[in-house]
């Protein structure tokens, strides 16, 4: 799949390929080719260094973007998946289990958007039901009991909006995760690898450290939904994305996340391996750094971190 703004690059690539076929030994053609290659490279840089927020959202949603499964398979030396909420069911939209990442035994959790039509449908495109959030709660408790750090890979368009989800207490399940996250006595770190949308994402990323891939986004609401509500026009999603300040740069700039993990030129889907490696390095570095922190300090710092965030000022002008 090719995003609109990727089109000129694709054209370049095709022309170069074509010339190669014609070229043969001819010297000036080879010169032409290398000139084009420089132009292509320049175009790539120009386009990708100037992606609009909404274009980044599209990159974050790119079907070929590496997802939970790719990270799990590449970063975990071993992964022993666990399942079930012990109340109602097992939700394939979120997966988790015991994993070895670098020198660390951890509880690894993530939204599973799947890799093909079947697995995408089965994973409900990464939109979890209450069973999913309750399974995650079980994983938080397991990590607390065995003093294992928690690593979360966030990639969701949001908690699922459906009848069953409401009947079984979607809001209650998310709230329980946030309460558990707040008091968990081990390091909890997350990386937003694609979409980080709404409470469904927050229930899994209100953590001690948040890394964010360059083209991923974090938002209280999907740009399309925001546009149709505020502007009464879904077509103005790009404006909404702009207004919501949802890019990694915005988040880092506002002190919401701790790190922007750079993506290869052209986005993660153009070079999954290097992207996954970059995320892996970040996770390992952070795990190493936090592994000796005592539970009380972790909770204290976590408390201060989230207690602080807000866009408000007191009468006397100082931030609330």
């Amino acid at each position: 799949m090719i995003l609109d703004f990727e089109r000129p690059i694709k054209d370049f690539e095709e022309r170069i390929a074509e010339l190669r076929r014609l070229a043969g030994p001819s010297a000036e053609l080879r010169g032409e080719i290398s000139r084009l290659e420089e132009a292509l490279d320049a175009a790539r840089r120009r386009i990708y260094s100037n992606l609009s927020p909404y274009q980044r959202v599209q990159v974050a949603r790119h079907p070929e973007r590496p997802n939970f499964r790719a990270y799990r398979d590449a970063l975990a030396d071993d992964f022993y998946e666990l399942s079930g909420d012990r109340f109602f069911g097992d939700d394939p939209a979120v997966r988790g289990g015991l994993a070895r990442i670098g020198d660390h035994n951890v509880v690894l959790i993530g939204h599973d958007k799947g890799t093909d039509v079947n697995s995408r449908v089965r994973g409900n495109f990464g939109m979890a039901h209450p069973e999913g959030y309750r399974k995650v709660k079980r994983f938080y408790d397991l990590a607390a009991r065995f003093r294992l750090p928690v690593v979360v890979l966030v990639d969701t368009p949001g908690a699922f909006a459906g009848r069953g989800a409401e009947e079984r207490g979607q809001a209650w399940a998310i709230s329980a995760d946030l309460m558990a996250l707040a008091r968990i006595p081990v390091p909890v770190i997350s990386a937003i690898i694609g979409e980080g949308c709404s409470g469904g994402a927050l229930a899994m990323c209100a953590t001690d450290y948040i890394g964010m891939l360059e083209n991923s986004y974090l938002s209280v609401i999907a740009p399309e939904a925001c546009a149709s509500i505020i502007f009464r026009d879904p077509g103005r999603a790009a404006e909404a994305a702009e207004a919501l300040k949802l890019t990694a740069a915005d988040m880092k700039g506002r002190g919401i996340v701790d790190e922007i993990i750079p993506e290869p030129l052209g986005g993660a889907h153009n070079d999954p391996d290097s992207t996954i490696k970059a995320v892996g390095n970040s996770l390992n570095r952070v795990l190493d750094g936090l592994s000796d922190t005592d539970p009380e300090t972790l909770r204290e710092v976590r408390y201060e971190r989230y207690r602080r965030i807000g866009a408000h000022a007191s009468e006397n002008g100082q931030a609330g």
Binding site: G162, L202, L218, I230, H312
Partner: protein
């Protein structure tokens, strides 16, 4: 018929996804029938109004005297935060805390400032919340009430901050905590700051519940989104007003996305009680008495 009509109106009031303009426009329907309050709604031009639920005429003063509950069909109309606190606290016992905290438009979001000014003028409140301490049947409590008239009771930084401060105050002063919610959910105009108020109120609450003082959450019409998915449901006891719409995503959005027609009762307080999410349905005029009884059992 009346029910469906009201349902139609209720639908419009469900959840942040449906949106603030919507709530505001709906709110005006209430302001017609809503009584004059200290909280800044202008004086009524008409002496009586027509109940949107049962269609019967109601005298403004009767509605006022019954805290916006229809004398005829008992339909519970939204209640402003100041009126809510007047309903619940012993006369003269309420003392506001954490006033003078105002939202900043850090995102520079299209007409957020104007909306804030309008809402402040209309309600006389700093934001969609009134919080402080008061006595309920002589028992000192920390309490907060959200106000739906203020940008749909949406949780922005001020709501999050004042809820967190109320929780912290209850913890340090060893007081029971009572929060009455009425909210469409997150306040989109504050983007991620709004989202993060869910985390803020949750960390505060997770520390409070390490103590042994009770937290009672009261869900009123409507309570959705980020409020339901954070502090409003993480309570020891969850009460709800009759007919209140409560959930995460509003029914209209669910019908749009899943193309499924949802039953009349969907997401009502009674529905949530059936599904094990709410302890009791409490009539507004019994709420103070219920809280007194409840607190009487607890530390």
């Amino acid at each position: 018929m009346a029910a469906r009509g009201a349902r139609g109106a209720l639908r419009g009031r469900e959840g942040w996804r449906i949106g603030i303009r919507n709530w505001l426009s709906k709110r005006r329907e209430y302001s017609r029938s809503a009584p004059e309050t200290e909280s800044g709604v202008g004086p009524m031009d008409s002496v009586f109004t027509k109940c949107e639920q049962c269609g019967q005429p109601i005298y403004e003063k009767d509605l006022r005297a019954r805290f916006n509950v229809c004398p005829n069909c008992e339909f519970h109309y939204p209640l402003s935060a100041p009126e809510r606190i007047r309903l619940l606290t012993d006369t003269g016992s309420f003392q506001e805390r954490d006033g003078g905290i105002f939202a900043e438009d850090l995102l520079g979001f299209e007409d957020y400032r104007q909306r804030l000014e309008k809402a402040r003028a209309k309600t006389g409140l700093d934001d969609a919340i009134l919080s402080g301490t008061g006595a309920i049947g002589g028992r000192q409590v920390a309490l907060a009430a959200l106000d739906f008239r203020f940008i749909g009771g949406s949780m922005g930084s001020v709501v999050g901050e004042r809820v967190a401060r109320t929780i912290e105050f209850a913890g340090t002063e060893e007081l029971p905590l009572i929060i009455v919610s009425a909210s469409g959910g997150a306040r989109m105009f504050e983007g991620v700051y709004s989202l993060m108020q869910m985390a803020k109120t949750s960390v505060a609450l997770s520390r409070y519940v390490e103590g042994s003082w009770p937290y009672v959450s009261v869900l009123t019409d409507p309570t959705f989104g980020g409020v339901t998915a954070s502090f409003a449901t993480a309570a020891d006891v969850v009460l709800a007003e009759p007919g209140a719409r409560i959930g995460f995503t509003g029914a209209r959005v669910i019908e749009q996305t899943t193309k499924e027609r949802l039953p009349e009762s969907f997401q009502t307080a009674e529905f949530q009680r059936e599904h094990g999410m709410v302890d009791r349905i409490v009539h507004r005029l019994s709420l103070k008495g219920d809280l007194e009884r409840l607190l009487g059992f607890l530390p």
